[in-house]
Amino acid sequence: MRRRGFLAGASVFAATGFPDVAQAAGRFRLGLTPVFLDNDADVIHHLRTAFSQAMGEPVDLIQRRTYQEITAAILDGSVDAAWICGYPFLQHRDSLALLGVPVWQGRPLYQSYLIVRADDEAKGLQDLRRHVHAFSDPDSNSGYLVTASDLSRVGETPDSFFSRSVFTYGHRNVVRAVASGLTRSGSVDGYVWETLASVEPSLTSRTKVLAKSEWLGFPPFAARADKAQDPSILNFSAALRGLAASPAGREALRLLYLDGVQEGDASLFDGIAARMAELEVR
């Protein structure tokens, strides 16, 4: 059940989703991206139910394909808040306010994994030179920034190091790309890979983790900074942090393999900021 809840496709959400034109004033709009969340009806349903109950108003869940699109949606006001990645959060640090950070396995932290096929003989990143590599999103920390900054440390860029880089716009897609042999390696969210190992072991068993990054700040919920004190945002922040308090929220968290959402601190993302700095310097 949890597997089905975690997996499935964006199409399910699209079919049962909420068109922008239908978003009447007064409905809170929360942005999501399949880059991180390969959501399905169960997760959507429980999240929407939990937030709607906690906030006392209907909540629409809006999904976009890329972090860039969902970040732009926050900035242009198309959505009121969104679950994004620490990398775009830091890219727009001045314009965004941190609403909460999910807690996974007791900490608001996760890692980036460098994965290859289970039978691959590569020992490290250097062995992957001149091969095809899968990233999840150019604005993903675990799915791009970590590997790109690792390469930067050795004076390389993804384009110079790999024969070709492929963006799959989904961490699960990165695992699929590597497992099928489409790409030799991939950069994937450690939280997603570990969760997939529980719910879809037939997929992750065809891959193995070649390297893990340091612990970095978990992808946070954010809103536009200038609207951070709006009652609806404050209301959402409270609902977010109290997610574990309601049955629907607990069910949503269970399906997402998360413990809860904490207030969080921008310093959680210092590691990501450091990697961004390395990338920008070179």
Binding site: V132, S163, R164, V166, T168, Y169, R176, S180, G181, L182
Partner: protein, 474 residues
């Protein structure tokens, strides 16, 4: 022998011919069925391939245009997962330069590898066929976006089921045709056997007794079919006519023998009469000089020689008359008899007789005496009649391998064309003329031999060649 179709019973031949025609018809019909099935299968396969490729082409076009490897792969992967029936085994998509963008099995077609390995055996959509027996066929199609070729797609289709279906159909047709042919052939055999019973009856009677036609007993002639009844009765009439003709020929041959003797009678009468004068003188001498033992002894010796000669002549005549019915084998004494009978004729005509009988005892043992005596005597009489008074007549008997050669020669004017025809061919006999030469021909044919005629330097030679072994078992 059984391999020769001509020796098979007519019933079997008719049924076999019908079976062969049915098999041929069955093969042609089966080929038509298989051809139609193949066309339907190919049309279905082409339609399936077209829908698959065109569907993918629509979905993939923009991704191929932008060389979006992941989206191409994801589209292929989802299409494969959602394709029912498992007909699509593998699909690979390449850009306009022939470099692989993605494939359903990236291990077979890695990203950026050359697509040529997959296109070289692939056929265009309109040429897809399952007829060549391959269980997998490769199809290629261009990928276009707004009329511009941006890449190509190659798909492997599993056509095992279609090939199997075709094989099963072919087997079913083969088995069905074989069964139908066998059943109808058996049924046909019984029907034909019944219908052709009178013909079989006719063939049996025609072939009996070494090819001599034999009348069909009236009791076994079927009366249910008036045409066949008439045919069989006509046959009986013909067989009786042949019998009558054979009997007439036999009687003619018999008479010819007497004719031969008749032609000799004058000479033989002299042969008997001449010694009679001497013998009568001897008896007078004995009566006159009965008291002179030495004269009596001389006369008695004369009497003995004369009587012995008469005995030999009469024995030869008797033998000539008797041997026709005898199964006795030829011997040198037969030729001595012939000489005894024939020589007086040459003497009477003042002709010189050349007589050479070689030592052919082994071959003689393989030939019946009667026909050879008749042949030789007839030819000698003809030769003597043809040779002028004071001319020459000759007989040479020799062996050549396993053949016995009898050559009769004379210095007469030679055989006319009509006479040669009588002797050498089966041409119808013209009215008039004797039957002696034709009788020689028939007798030689009966012994399995042949006759040659040669004319050179004023001499005619007729050579009869008899096969020693075949004429009579040695």
């Amino acid at each position: 022998m059984l391999l020769r179709v001509g020796t098979w019973p007519i019933t079997v031949r008719v049924v076999a011919a019908s079976a062969v025609l049915m098999v041929l018809f069955g093969l042609v019909a089966s080929q038509q069925v298989l051809s139609t099935l193949g066309r339907l299968q190919d049309a279905r396969l082409q339609e399936y391939a077209r829908l698959h490729v065109e569907g993918l082409a629509v979905a993939l076009g923009p991704f191929v245009l932008h060389k979006d490897v992941w989206e191409v792969y994801d589209t292929l992967d989802r299409a494969r997962a959602e394709t029912s029936g498992g007909r699509i085994l593998f699909t690979v998509v390449a850009d306009e330069l022939g470099r692989v963008l993605a494939a359903t099995d990236p291990d077979r077609a890695p990203v950026d590898s050359e697509v040529g390995a997959f296109t070289k055996d692939a056929v265009p959509l309109g040429e897809v066929t399952a007829a060549n027996g391959d269980t997998v066929v490769q199809v290629r199609a261009p990928l276009s976006v707004q009329g511009r070729d941006v890449g190509q797609i190659v798909t492997e289709l599993d056509v095992r089921d279609l090939v199997l279906q075709r094989r099963k159909t072919a087997f079913a047709l083969l088995a069905g045709n074989a069964l139908a042919t066998l059943t109808l052939a058996l049924a046909g055999y019984f029907v034909m056997a019944r219908m052709l019973q009178p013909v079989e009856l006719l063939a049996r009677h025609m072939g009996e007794a070494g090819g001599t036609p034999h009348p069909i007993p009236e009791a076994v002639i079927p009366h249910s079919d008036s045409v066949l009844t008439k045919l069989l009765r006509n046959y009986n009439s013909m067989a009786e006519a042949i019998d009558a003709r054979a009997e007439a020929e036999r009687r003619l041959a018999e008479r010819e023998r007497f004719v031969s003797l008749g032609r000799l009678s004058s000479s033989l009468a002299h042969e008997i009469n001449n010694p009679l004068g001497g013998l009568l003188n001897a008896t007078d001498t004995i009566q006159t000089y009965a008291d002179r033992p030495d004269v009596v002894r001389q006369s008695a010796a004369l009497l003995d020689r004369g009587l012995n000669h008469l005995r030999d002549v009469s024995r030869a005549i008797l033998e000539e008359n008797r041997t026709e019915r005898s199964g006795r084998r030829l011997s040198k004494s037969d030729f001595e008899d012939l000489r005894l009978l024939f020589e007086p004729e040459t003497t009477r005509r003042g002709q010189q007789l050349e007589w050479q009988v070689g030592d052919c005892d082994q071959l003689f043992q393989c030939v019946r005496s009667g026909p050879v005596r008749q042949i030789t005597l007839n030819l000698l009489l003809n030769a003597s009649a043809a040779a002028p008074r004071g001319g020459a007549v000759g007989l040479r008997v020799q062996s050549e391998g396993d053949r016995l050669l009898l050559t009769v020669a004379d210095d007469g004017p030679g055989l006319s064309e009509v006479a040669q025809s009588r002797l050498m061919s089966q041409a119808r006999l013209e009215p008039g003329g004797g039957v002696g030469l034709r009788l020689v021909r028939d007798l030689v044919a009966g012994l399995g031999g042949d006759i040659a005629y040669r004319r050179s330097q004023g001499r005619s030679e007729i050579t009869v060649s008899l096969q020693g072994r075949e004429a009579m078992p040695c």
